[in-house]
């Protein structure tokens, strides 16, 4: 198992190298000059030229790539062309916000989606099954931006129960340690910030979780239905085991493999959904930041984030693969 994990980690290197080349070339194929985007309408030719020189944009493509990779190998993701700040610093500040939101959304998706799928499968073709499946269809098909705005309008504007935007009321002082509001609130014993942070998390988490929740519910139902039809389930029932034990201990455990695969893929779904959720709820994470950086041709940010997200995605997939062996003893990695 250990050698397998090491091999997989080593395979990250050529993957990241390939991604760096593809992103680097594709970005430069898109029309648009970042120096002009930074300088704007008012910029003189001298200013634009100065910006190009400062960021090495007037050099040849191979030269730019070598310079870029040289910095990457030294652990330097570069500086944003627009804000001129180190990208690593920006990721350190923004990623915890996305992480906090995505983890909450994933937990919510699991807590609701998994039981919904199990109940649907065990109550197949009953009104409960129909309601759960129509609900999951709605979850998949409802646009996040629309749902987000509706949640915002109803719970924040009409009912006034929840805050409409951001991670924490500006009037609340919280010492930032990890930049995860919930974690920092607990670490510093700040109950007011903890409650406020949870309230801020509810609406964006619901908006972001709907697609994942629906996919998990449908995948769980389908995997459970397949397993529930197997001979060993009939045997278990014949042995007189109660239905809860048959469902949870025998059926669910074997139905989990495809669900875990889907869970791993949800990292991508959540990161792409974060662009919209973060925009609607003014959540200062990496989603919207990356989107705006693409629009403004902020090459270093897009390149740095592409590498960061690729690495994140690959590590999550590795964890998914490793977890197969934990769930199913028949799977062995050598």
């Amino acid at each position: 198992m250990t050698s397998y994990i090491i091999r997989r980690l080593l395979s990250l290197i050529p993957t990241l190298f390939g991604v760096s080349i593809i992103v680097f070339l594709f970005l430069r194929m898109i029309p648009g000059d970042p120096a002009l985007a930074l300088g704007g309408e008012h910029a003189t030719e001298a200013t634009v030229e100065r910006i190009r020189e400062e960021f090495g944009l007037n050099e040849s493509l191979p030269r730019q790539y070598i310079t870029y990779m040289g910095k990457i190998l030294r652990g330097d993701l570069g500086r944003s062309i627009l804000s001129k700040r180190p990208i690593a610093d920006e990721i350190r500040v923004r990623f915890p916000a996305t992480l906090e939101l995505s983890v909450c959304a994933l937990i919510l998706a699991l807590v609701v989606g998994l039981p919904a799928g199990i109940i649907s499968a065990t109550k197949r073709n009953t009104p409960i099954d129909n309601i759960a499946m129509v609900g999951s269809l709605l979850g998949i098909s409802m646009p996040i931006f629309w749902l987000g705005l509706m949640l915002n309008w109803f719970f924040a504007v009409q009912l006034g129960w929840l805050p409409s935007v951001t991670r924490l009321d500006a009037s609340i002082d919280l010492q930032r340690i990890t930049n995860l509001i919930i974690v920092d609130s607990i670490l510093t014993g700040n109950a007011e910030a903890l409650l406020n942070g949870i309230k801020h998390l509810i609406l964006p988490s619901i908006a972001l979780s709907t697609i994942s929740m629906a996919i998990i519910a449908r995948m769980t139902r389908s995997a459970m239905l397949e397993v529930l039809g197997q001979d060993y389930i009939r045997t278990a029932r014949a042995k007189g085991l109660i239905e809860r034990v048959v469902t949870v201990r025998h059926a669910l455990k074997n139905a989990l493999l495809p669900v875990i695969t889907v869970l791993g893929l949800q990292v991508g779904v959540l990161l792409s959904g974060a662009v919209l959720t973060e925009t609607i709820f003014a959540w200062p994470g990496i989603g919207r930041w990356l989107y705006l950086s693409i629009l403004s041709r902020d090459y270093p940010i897009v390149q740095g984030m592409a590498l960061f997200i690729t690495a994140l995605f690959l590590v999550v997939n590795l964890l998914v693969d490793v977890s197969y062996a934990l769930v199913d003893p028949r799977i062995r990695y050598e």
Binding site: T47, R85, W153, L168
Partner: protein, 542 residues
């Protein structure tokens, strides 16, 4: 029985969970912000709190509260008044400007403001060899045309500024290489705000970054900057002017226009900029919302290559102008927040000539002029519009479609085209387009700022105006640049505007007003055509 008790148990657990969630959701008090804070939401984060090294409105809004200049724009106007300088004089030839400074000012870090500080601030931007010349200082370069040591092809200095010197502790002198009419207006702009030299030396190239504390002399001091979320400022009790009525200003970052409006309705913020056009009438109709508008400081126009057929015929250009119902465009596509454009300079600025009138909407006359010029029915040409909203064109695609339809009505066949914004900027300067939409947002309230980027010094940014009349206008504009007195300069700009109107080298569409939305009890916010708003006058009505 067992099944029923399980179902009941599940329902009880579900009910308890639901109750817990709802109890967490129901706050003890409504989420309205405290009255002593003024919370304003903007669409993007600031890039820096160093006013000399920013160009974006979001950063400038923060800097307006933290800093002062030697002069400042009168709230709501484009004229300047004394601020850190009590008075100023200029030499007859316009080459020497001397400012008397206030002697009772301290920066937020407790250090003294004096002539040495002004010299330090100016030289930091002007002199590339200065130890703190660590930014690109785009606005200094743009307004003064270069840095110390920059020379043109003939070896002459390109920079308007020659040197800056302290005459005594509270007198500072700017020496110029050549007169610059708008010089005093430029001094009111954000890039000439005064920063504590001590803070600059201590923080070096990090000055203005989120984790560092900026030090100006403005009505508010910096407290914290949580990136992408908010910037908090607090009242500076020793402010030399009107001490702020609110304790704190919080600038919140809410990127989405609709979400910003929802946050205003929910009471999470007190004011916001850049609403969706549809939300402005909604706010007007809502007793819990108020709309304030900035006087127009933008000009939207269509540029034409006057040396290419058939646009080299002034009558063809006039026909294009006559074919557009500009009032209808303003009414429907600017949400009523605008006026029909007739010239570069908007009516809120001096230099505007009220005698220049729109040619009016006359498609019959347009068709006649086109026939007379021999332009064939169905003449096809590319009409370029920008891909993203600009302050002067809030919905460029819709406006381009409307204009295209008007031109089609008089027998032309415009093909609407667009491309990436930075490529668009590049191509319009390189002469790729024949006819394209563009515009301008004023920087300093001076008519020179509207004309000269496109028409005069150091060379026209868009080299499309090549007629004889154009040269006459350029001569007038260059002459106006050498004068200091507004009374002498104004008629020259008006004459240039009249020449341009006659030549129809640009088709002026609209001057756009900008809407700001606020809570209804907010008072003291004075919208500025330049966006130079100071929050020390803001308060909430009891």
């Amino acid at each position: 029985m067992l099944r029923y008790s399980k179902t009941l148990g599940a329902l009880v657990v579900l009910g308890v969970l639901l109750g817990l969630v709802l109890s967490a959701c129901a706050p003890a008090a409504p989420p309205a912000a405290e009255e002593v804070d003024f919370i304003f939401a903007q669409g993007a984060d600031a890039t820096k709190t160093d006013p000399t090294d920013v160009t974006d409105g979001e950063s400038i809004r923060v800097c307006n509260q933290l800093y002062d200049g030697l002069v400042r724009f009168v709230p709501g106007k484009t004229l300047v008044e004394p601020n850190l300088a009590t008075e100023w004089t200029t030499s007859d030839d316009g080459l020497v400007w001397e400012f008397k400074l206030r002697d009772d000012i301290k920066f937020h870090d407790g250090t003294d403001f004096n002539a040495d500080a002004v010299v330090y601030n100016a030289m930091r931007q002007f002199d590339p060899a200065h130890p703190e010349h660590t930014g690109t200082f785009e606005y200094w370069e743009y307004m003064y045309l270069g840095f110390l040591g920059d020379v043109d092809d003939e070896g002459n200095p390109t920079s308007v500024v020659k040197s800056v010197e302290a005459v005594d502790e509270y007198t500072v002198r700017f020496n110029l290489n050549r007169p610059l009419g708008p010089f005093i207006q430029d001094m009111g702009m954000f890039y000439m705000y005064q920063i504590s030299p001590t803070a600059l030396k201590e923080q070096g190239e990090n000055y203005g970054l989120p984790a560092y504390t900026p030090a100006g002399t403005g009505p508010f001091k910096f407290v914290e900057w949580v990136e992408g979320d908010h910037i908090t400022l607090e009242r500076y009790d020793d402010y030399h002017g009107e001490v702020a009525k609110v304790n704190r200003v919080i600038i919140r970052i809410i990127p989405d226009n609709a979400a910003r409006y929802l946050a205003l309705q929910a009471g999470d913020i007190h004011g916001m900029g850049f609403p969706n056009p549809d939300d402005v009438p909604n706010c007007e109709a809502d007793e819990n919302c108020q709309v304030l508008t900035r006087p127009p400081n933008t000009t939207a126009f269509i540029n034409i290559m006057t040396d290419r057929e058939p646009w080299d015929d002034p009558n063809v250009r006039r026909a294009l102008d006559l074919a557009i119902d500009k009032q209808a465009i303003v009414d429907s596509l600017y949400g009523g927040l605008g006026i029909v454009g007739t010239q570069f300079v908007p009516p809120s600025l001096w230099g505007h000539d009220p005698n220049i009138k729109d040619r009016g909407y006359d498609p019959e006359e347009a068709r006649r002029l086109l026939d007379e010029a021999g332009v064939e029915e169905g003449f096809t040409f590319d009409f370029w519009y920008m891909p993203n909203p600009r302050p002067y064109y809030p919905v460029p695609e819709d406006i381009a479609e409307a204009i295209g339809t008007y031109w089609a009505d008089v027998g032309l066949n415009p093909q609407l085209k667009t491309e990436d914004w930075s490529t668009y900027l590049d191509d319009r300067a390189a002469g790729v387009f024949d006819i394209w939409m563009i515009g301008w947002t004023g920087d300093n309230g001076d008519p020179d700022n509207f004309f000269c980027f496109f028409v005069c010094i150091p060379k026209p940014r868009e080299g499309n105006w090549n007629t004889e009349i154009a040269q006459q206008a350029i001569d007038l504009l260059l002459q106006a640049q050498t004068l200091s007195a507004q009374a002498e300069r104004e008629p020259l700009y008006q004459q240039a505007a009249a020449l341009e109107h006659e030549d129809a080298s640009r088709l002026f569409i609209a001057h756009n007003e900008t809407a700001l939305l606020f809570r209804p009890d907010l008072r003291g916010f004075v919208p500025s055509p330049l966006g130079e708003e100071f929050y020390n006058s803001v308060y909430f009505e009891e």
